[in-house]
Amino acid sequence: MAHVPRTRPPQLSAGHVRRRALEDVLERGADRDLTVLSAPPGFGKTSLLAAWVGDDHGRATAWVCLEPEDRDPRRLWSAVLAELTALSAVPPSSRLHRLVVSRSTVAPEFLTELTAAITALPSPVRLVLDDVHHLADPLSRQGLAMLLRDTGDRLGLVLAGRRDPPLPLPRLRMDERVTELRAEQLAFSPAESAALLAAWSPSLTPAQVTVLHERTGGWVAGLRLAALSLRDHPDPDRFLDGFSGDERPVADYLVDEVLAGLPESRREVLRRISVAPEVPAGLAPRLAGRDDAAEVLDDLAHTTGLVAGSGARGDAYRLPELLRSHLVADLGRRGPGLVAALERTAAVWWAAQGAPVEALRHAARADDPALLADLVGRWAPWLAGRGEHAALAAAVGSSEPVGDARLATAAAHVHLARGEDDLARAALRRARRDRRPGADAAAFRAATERVLGRALPVADREPVPAEPALAAHARIGRGAAAVRADDPSRARTELGAGLALAHRLGLDGLAHRGRCLLAAALWIAGDVPRAGAAAARALAEPGADGPGSAPWSALARAVAAHAALLHADPGAARALTGAGEEVADPVVRFALLCARGGAAVDLGERTAGLLALQAARTALGDTVVPGALAATAALLEHRAAVGLGHATAAGAVTAWLAGRDPASPALALVRGWSAAAAGELAAARTAIAVLLAPPARPSPDALDVEAWLLEARIRLARADRPGARAAARHAVDLAAPRDALRPFVHADGGVRALLVDELATGAARAGFVARALAAGATSPAGIALSGREHDVLARLPSLESFDEIAGDLDVSINTIKTHVRALYGKLGVTTRRDAVLVAHEQGLLG
């Protein structure tokens, strides 16, 4: 039976019979890992558990009653986690308090952490899952099995439902780890039946009680209905005569009798409210079609006990499930449209209360496509943005695929959440065929298409919808389109506005997509540090690995990987790219494969890296990519080719970039590199002149830094040492705020040696230079220095003379010279400058 609220055992009714013998069975099995109550409805499973748990609820016993929507694992495990953390037996220090269920998806890791946190509890707890037959998805089944297997004696699991739970019961039985109660044990004994009937119909004789017990077989729901109809029955014996010997099912007969004891006007009220398992006082008059419906239900509650609840908030009117099922069937018999009309009334009422889940639940059965489309249209942006796809799936799954843009777009979001991108696109094609969508439906469809990568241009006068959740989708969709259109400044504006809305409304699923796209926009704009930070934050969000987040997380990983490359951390870049091939979006796949190839080059696998970069470019074909990505890819590949002395390969990638983007500023650099590699320094200088003229536009490949480092190399070759030094300094000053270390790893040896002098100058620049020289350090091992040698080495980058160093260390000048000779020998150098350079490159300094 369903109860509100669902995380609390129900109140026991006045006529409740305590079943001490069964409670003893439960108590004796309390130290077993699992307790299973498996029986059809109306056998008193919930009442027995509620009586047994009693005051322990909230102390060491958590209680969750499952509902159909718990097919969605997020909903189920959120409720379980909330109940567990509310227990007084769970101390504030427990890791359970730090667990969060993602709003977009539940990952297996969450279940592992939940299990570990329970296992670490100081005292055992119990978790009751009532109506566990609603648990349907594989992940939740896996979670149940994990809790049972791995929590040791810290968790007692109690599962009640209409069917056996999906667990290996035979084996658990053999290991004596399970206590089971089934219909035969749960059925009332003759004495219990007598006690129940005595409470409800005190005038029955022992013989009458015996007949009732035998006919119902101790089935509580049947006994209860019998007791209710016998309460004021004029002729109990006639009732019992009709009851026995008949071929009719007991339930059928009892329901007839109960209803026969009521005036038709009251039967009608009950019939009409039966479409809803929970009827708040406000809904009752709408369903019953009379203003005094709540009074009628209150009266039935007091005089017959047929109705439970007071209609108040959190205590809606409820009918016994058995009676309700028969009433719904009766309604269906009276006219096919009647049930649908009442479902419609309930849907409209819940929608007016701002309760989309309940409204859609009823609308799905209302046989009113217009209403369903209307409610889906109104709530889909909010539900999809929050990742509440179960309610949406139930609503759109209940109708045949129709050409209504609202339903089709909602279906697309359900598919997206499951990682079914192809089906999502097919649903959007259906949405497109709707020739007359409303303004909001058109905006939601466009936003979804854009987020999925379709390049729908944004018209200048395209309005932003007024509804906030829809506006958040629209903004983020436009941001996605601007990223595709290589317009990072517009992308940042739209994504910023969309993210602010999404955060305010708690649309976490949508916000994740927005943040990944923002990382891409920042990267294209050349702001690599902030792009890397945004990507890292998006990837750290719970649920970033879920199927509904994967395409956008892949984009964030590509951004983070390129940022890591620029920061001279190829190991991190490689870890972020994964295999790369499994990503569906060709642009994102290209970006990931390029980062992977670049990482291979930087990790010393130069030939493999070059081949990987070439392969990525070939696989891309004619797909359009943002200019910054094409330039970055070309620079990675060109550098790898030149490094291997492969002029043809370098020429090929130059031609590729020129063919794609003849205006790309990166062309100047690759031409400069090629010329320099061929020893044509004058040509190199001419080629890069355009890059040295301010103002340089920031780019994620640090084009300006690279150009100034090449300039330094050219000047050095022309013996213009002061000019080379100035150019190198300029490169450092451009690179330092962006932490762009990679250009220095690949810089010419002479230029790197020049930079050693910078170590002794102003602290700000020296810090970056030290890291730039240390970046790409081959290995800190191999060279073993004594403590004293290390002290001396640490002072070599300064401008101090050996005399001054001797004074600092309080030793003689000859001792210093001895240490320096030993150091030079170990480092394989002959000058102080080379010693500092090699020391940095070996990771001995900095």
Binding site: P41, R162, P249, D252, D256, L322, S325, H326, R333, P336
Partner: protein
């Protein structure tokens, strides 16, 4: 389990209880009622079994019927 199936419950159903199975064929045999219909998947059959339980009917048997060409 997709295909044709047949469910037997004990006793003769009232018109009201029969109405709960509007999309199935309902036939009475001595002391039992036979419900038969088509299903697309196991979920659908589970739904019907749930309805039988909710109505308090006693399930006697459930079986899948071989296709006989009378779709």
């Amino acid at each position: 389990m997709a295909g044709r199936f047949e469910i037997r419950v004990s006793g003769r159903l009232s018109d009201r209880a029969r109405a709960a199975f509007a999309d199935m064929a309902v036939v009475e045999v001595p002391a039992e009622t036979v419900l038969s219909g088509w299903s697309h998947d196991a979920d659908e059959v589970h739904g019907i079994l749930d309805r039988i339980q909710e109505l308090g009917l006693e399930l006697v048997s459930l079986r899948q019927v071989r296709e006989s060409g009378d779709a």
